[in-house]
Symmetry: C2
Subunit: 368 residues, 2 copies
């Protein structure tokens, strides 16, 4: 990267069920918080990128870039970036490109999702837009169904028991208790996970991240310095449909993005002390840790059964924080920055994917 | 701009009613054509940007970046950019930022829309997502309704007769006859325009661009040279809702984008010989020409009543070519490049807006 990109300001709403707030209200609360936190004013924002997946489906609202820009006094140029659940990461990547190109010096990135206003069946159908509507949806698959297949195959290949898998969600829920922005702040014992209602065998309700409303915003700048900077911003893409892949127990996009991110940051994997990863389903956390090289295939569960050398989803992850789709990738970066500020370690990482990891975005943060 | 961005390859489908093609099929045809036209191979594509507005509404399909990347052998990193009908322009702008940042050397930009598979009432509701769902839609407005209000006010302020307005669509239809990619290739006499069924007083059916399927792709590159380059890429944003504006007969976003584009290209307005502008409705063409400074307020109609110093929508514009929403901004750039290649003039301009010009993107092209 030519000039450092600073994480100049951060702000988010609590994730959860916000019956009294519209998509615009959610954006506004997180934007106000991020600008108040930043070392600049609203008028310093050169460009706005909004990450959103379900605006059309849940709120009859496209054109969210202009809606966010309308909330600022000078309504700067704006656009919306989308890659399903990886919308947050692709918006951050777009912002980095704009900053590195010199087209902008200070960019506001807003991730937002309003999911609880419509029937869960409609949200489930909308979320299936993240898969291939010609290849995956006609099989009757839903996203829990896709990750149920993946979990089944993983447990078969690596002889992972249902009981051991329980430790993933249990850890995330334990971590979430301390996070004031988390949707669920309740410790849940490991044995309760697999006793919750079955959603898509072998996955139970407590293996799945919830449906949530929420927004998270960051101000990225090459002009206004801050203690934390972006050390790497990388995207990678795989086939959209899982039917086109050689394996479903490993995600090529995560591997590609991780390898490129380590190279861009010019660091070793072991230097990363804090990770926020995309645990849309418990099984996804294990596969992602393996694809990022923090464990060998089949062995990531050990990182949940004992103390891990780095923190994993200290925020509570998608499971406990909630998963307002496009807000997640922005919120992960906010959490990693908080962890780094309270840490002597140099690097933290946010891992965000969309669909069955058809898109993966990895951002590495460091002290400036 | 640091290094020239070349328009290395272009390709499009015919715009129209493609009952036998899915959104994926449309993308594939235009991508194949653009890559065949380019001085590179598919494997040279570093990144894919897909412009799309209505994928979720009309095809239950989000995540179109990964879908487009799946069509390439190496599925490079990809994302979708959206700003309603200006999605094409914001995707081009994003591609320029990626190229100027050095994050990519060759970017494929695909604009696609599949609109004819669902009921026109559902498409009309989807298109209203380009306006403010909290402020504009509850008034019962549709987009023809919004532009009907605008046309009424414009005709009152500037004493423009319904008969004179007819010349806009008539000229666009006349131009479209020669365009093999246009949806409608039939000359329509001026007097027939206002005799077509009324849609939103004073606008008639032949004042409105149609509902269309189609895709258009370009390959932009800093590595593979070509005779045409991007001389300026600028976006501007206005309030999303027309209820928040001081006037509805002039669009601030067009003025802002134009002023910035002329400055970036470092040229005078008079050097522009070819324009493709966003005539979603006939009245929009007049307002846009005035906001870009090619006519004083109320006088743009004169550019349609006699020969204009520059060509205007030689392709047929949105009226005759069709308006597959997000494909339009890409197709405009393709048409301007063709016009420049057959011209001794130095500059051509593509003007693309979204909603009631809440977002405006202007691209100036020149000989390399």
């Amino acid at each position: 990267m030519q000039s450092p990109i600073y994480l100049t300001g951060t702000g988010q709403t609590r994730f959860g069920e916000h019956w009294d707030m519209s998509i615009k209200d959610l954006m506004e609360e997180s934007i106000d918080a991020a600008i108040e936190n930043a070392g600049c004013t609203a008028l310093d924002i050169d460009m706005v990128i909004v990450a959103n997946m379900l605006g059309e489906v849940a709120s009859n609202q496209a054109h969210l870039g202009a809606m966010a820009a309308s909330l600022l006094p000078h309504h700067p140029p704006a656009l919306r970036a989308e890659a399903a659940c990886a919308s947050g990461a692709v918006a951050l990547h777009t912002a980095c490109a704009l900053l590195e190109s010199g087209k902008a010096q200070t960019v506001l990135v807003v991730g937002v999702e309003k999911m609880t206003d419509i029937a869960p069946s409609k949200i489930a159908a909308g979320l299936m837009g993240a898969a291939d509507a010609e290849k995956d949806a006609p099989c009757g698959l839903t996203f829990p169904g896709i990750f149920g297949l993946i979990a089944n195959r993983y447990m078969h290949e690596f002889n992972l028991s249902r009981e051991r898998l329980n430790h993933v969600s249990a850890r995330h829920h334990k971590n979430g208790v301390k996070n004031p922005f988390a949707q669920f702040r309740k410790e849940i014992p490991a044995e309760a996970i697999s006793m919750s209602p079955k959603v898509a065998d072998p996955l139970c309700m407590l293996d799945c991240s919830p449906i949530s409303d929420g927004a998270a915003s960051v101000v990225l700048s090459t002009k206004f310095e801050s203690p934390i900077k972006i050390a790497a911003s990388q995207l990678a893409t795989d086939t959209l449909s899982i039917t086109d892949r050689p394996t479903i127990t490993s995600f090529a996009a995560t591997k590609d993005a991780m390898s490129a991110a380590l190279q861009e940051a010019n660091i070793e994997r072991e230097e990363i002390a804090h990770i926020e990863l995309h645990d849309c389903f418990s099984i996804a956390a294990l596969i992602s840790l393996e694809d990022m090289g923090f464990a060998t295939p089949g062995n990531a569960i050990a990182l949940y059964e004992k103390e891990s050398p780095m923190t994993i989803n200290q925020s509570g992850g998608l499971k406990a924080c909630g998963h307002p789709v496009a807000a997640t990738g922005i919120k992960q970066v906010i959490d990693v920055s908080k962890q780094l500020k309270n840490s002597k370690s140099s690097y933290g990482l946010a891992h965000n994917f969309g669909g069955a990891a058809a898109t993966c975005g990895i951002h590495i943060l460091s002290h400036a």
